[in-house]
């Protein structure tokens, strides 16, 4: 758990950290489209260069980064293996047994999938490593604003999201504390058969839910006492500003897009 980087925030001060969170969210989203546009080796080389450049600009050490996403490698390898073994016939057939074919087509496809997975995971890890959770929430809320026109309660969703994010570490501490207390009373977590393990979760889950309900009640009363009525009609303290460096990232993105469109085999 402690070595798992995906979804964590690493406080550093780089140009990537200072970018507007709205910008980073949109870039990450568009980057995924870019990854699926690439369809030959040259275009992947361009993408890898851009990705490594982004990681370098974030001043996070590449070795630390790669170690952090290593736990996800099994998921990737599983997908790649499926692609490799069960591809439809096409090109040269290297090996054949029952319904399993390893074909030239399959090998190339598996290679593409591997790189696509890796690139997308690296970029989204970079997003969470370089952006504070609250900034992600503010950015998302701001990006969802147009949805107001189709009656989506954007402000309420934004409030829920920021409260949820705020309480993730608190509830994790709480869970750890309750687990320790129950261990001290003789509960063995993660031992024995499946049924026994599931049963041992009860002394953790019941208090955790109770504590979450109590917290929710206390928090809602405290919010009302501070004059909260509804999510609309509120002003904003966290103002996001679009800077020149944000525009520059889009220029770079446009260059990347153009290069990939040029290299792409239609």
């Amino acid at each position: 758990m402690s070595k798992f980087l995906f979804g964590r925030y690493l406080p550093l001060d780089s140009i990537v950290h200072r970018l507007d969170p709205r910008n980073k969210l949109m870039l990450s989203f568009c980057y995924i489209i870019l990854v699926f546009l690439a369809n030959n080796w040259l275009s992947y080389v361009i993408l890898i260069a851009f990705t490594l450049g982004a990681i370098r600009a974030s001043t996070i050490r590449l070795g630390f980064f790669l170690r952090g996403i290593r736990p996800l490698i099994w998921l990737i390898l599983f997908t790649v293996a499926l692609q490799l073994l069960f591809s439809p016939a096409g090109g040269h057939v290297y090996w054949h047994w029952a319904f399993i074919n390893i074909t030239q087509f399959g090998v190339i496809n598996a290679g593409y999938i591997f790189i696509r997975f890796l690139l997308i995971i690296m970029m989204s890890t970079l997003l969470t490593l370089s952006t504070q959770p609250l900034d992600i929430a503010t950015g998302l809320a701001s990006l969802m604003k147009p949805l107001r026109w189709v009656k989506v309660p954007v402000d309420t969703l934004a409030m829920m999201l920021s409260i949820a994010l705020r309480f993730v570490p608190t509830l994790m501490d709480e869970a750890q504390k309750i687990m320790n207390a129950q261990r001290a009373r003789g509960v063995d977590f993660g031992e024995g058969g499946l049924f026994k393990q599931a049963k041992s979760l009860l002394p953790l889950m019941v208090p955790l839910f109770m504590s979450a309900f109590n917290r929710a009640e206390d928090l809602s009363i405290a919010m009302e006492a501070r004059g909260y009525q509804d999510s609309d009609h509120r002003s904003q303290y966290r103002i996001l500003t679009w800077q020149r460096r944000d525009t520059v990232t889009w220029v770079l993105f446009a260059v990347g897009l153009a290069l990939i469109l040029i290299c792409r085999r239609w």
């Binding site: 402690s2 504390k177 309750i178 320790n180 207390a181 261990r183 001290a184 009373r185 003789g186 208090p207």
Partner: protein, 291 residues
């Protein structure tokens, strides 16, 4: 010796960029049937220290012995179950550990985990319930309908029901009203004196330390900076204040009286009754002069 720490060190998330040292070379001994109070500023490593006692955290360096159990960095979880029964832990705000449908079942949960038959455990639960000051009518109620103070008593009963030889208390009276506080502290004192339980208490209440503890350990930034009897620790109020700690109110008042010429032949009194005794012993001489 009941509890011996030998050069114990502990680092959270060791071998990662987020590693934080919490204990540094702590050596300390608590005799059989001892009563140790651990004091120190918030974040000084008190809670980390006491979690070593039932191996919820295992030392990253050094070793400790609790009666017949030895805990080293390589101790495996398989050997720990008897230790967990031997050392009862009452965590901060233990009311958050309640989960069963009835209070009786919740108290019986610990003993049952250590292999006691259900009927015996339930009978034991009823006994323990009266011990912490709630009557038998509570046994079949849900723990979630109680007040905060009553929930605390049930949680403590759940630990006492395991009949531990060593009782570790992490701020057991934080957030209780004065009467509840006194009752709980008196209960722990009774267990200590009558059943010979070894008690380790973490607290910010210097009055409790002065009144009950036989031994005090002062922690600062993960290090054990001073250990001794309450008399030795509180005898130097200036040093304590320099370490952002305080002296008991009685000792404070006695020290203020020193400035007005009162002397303390039996040492600085730490509790109100010791203060009263010493004043009473000196009273007739001075009092007679004014009559």
């Amino acid at each position: 010796m009941a509890i011996t720490f030998e050069h114990v060190g502990y680092t959270y998330q060791a071998d990662t960029p987020l590693a934080t040292p919490a204990l540094d070379d702590v050596s300390l001994t608590v005799p059989d049937h001892g009563y140790l109070a651990v004091i120190g500023h918030t974040g000084s490593g008190k809670s980390t220290l006491i979690q070593q006692l039932n191996a919820l955290l295992k030392p990253t360096t050094g070793q400790l012995t609790v009666d017949e159990f030895t805990i080293t960095p390589t101790t495996t979880n398989a050997d720990l179950k008897p230790l967990r029964q031997h050392v009862g832990m009452v965590f901060q705000f233990p009311e958050s550990q309640l989960f069963e449908e009835t209070i009786q079942k919740d108290i019986a949960f610990g003993p049952q985990n250590f292999g006691m038959a259900e009927a015996d455990a339930l009978a034991l639960a009823d006994q323990t319930l009266t011990q912490v000051g709630l009557d038998a009518s509570y046994a079949q109620r849900s723990p979630f309908e109680l007040s905060g103070g009553q929930m605390r008593r049930v949680a403590i009963a759940g630990v006492l029901a395991m009949h531990p030889q060593v009782l570790v208390l992490d701020e057991p009276t934080a957030g209780l009203d004065p009467q509840g506080r006194q009752e709980m502290m008196a209960l722990f004192d009774r267990l200590h004196r009558e059943q010979g339980m070894t008690i380790v208490l973490v607290t910010h209440q210097m009055e409790d330390v002065a009144q009950y503890a036989e031994q005090v350990a002062v922690m600062r930034q993960g290090k054990l900076v001073k250990a001794g009897t309450p008399q030795e620790i509180f005898g130097d109020p200036d040093w304590l204040r320099a370490n952002q700690l305080d002296v008991p109110r009685a000792a404070q008042f006695a020290q203020d009286l020193t400035a007005h010429g009162v002397t303390w032949p039996q040492g600085l009194p730490l509790t109100a009754s010791a203060l009263a005794d010493q004043l009473a012993a000196q009273w007739p001489k001075g009092g007679a002069a004014h009559v």
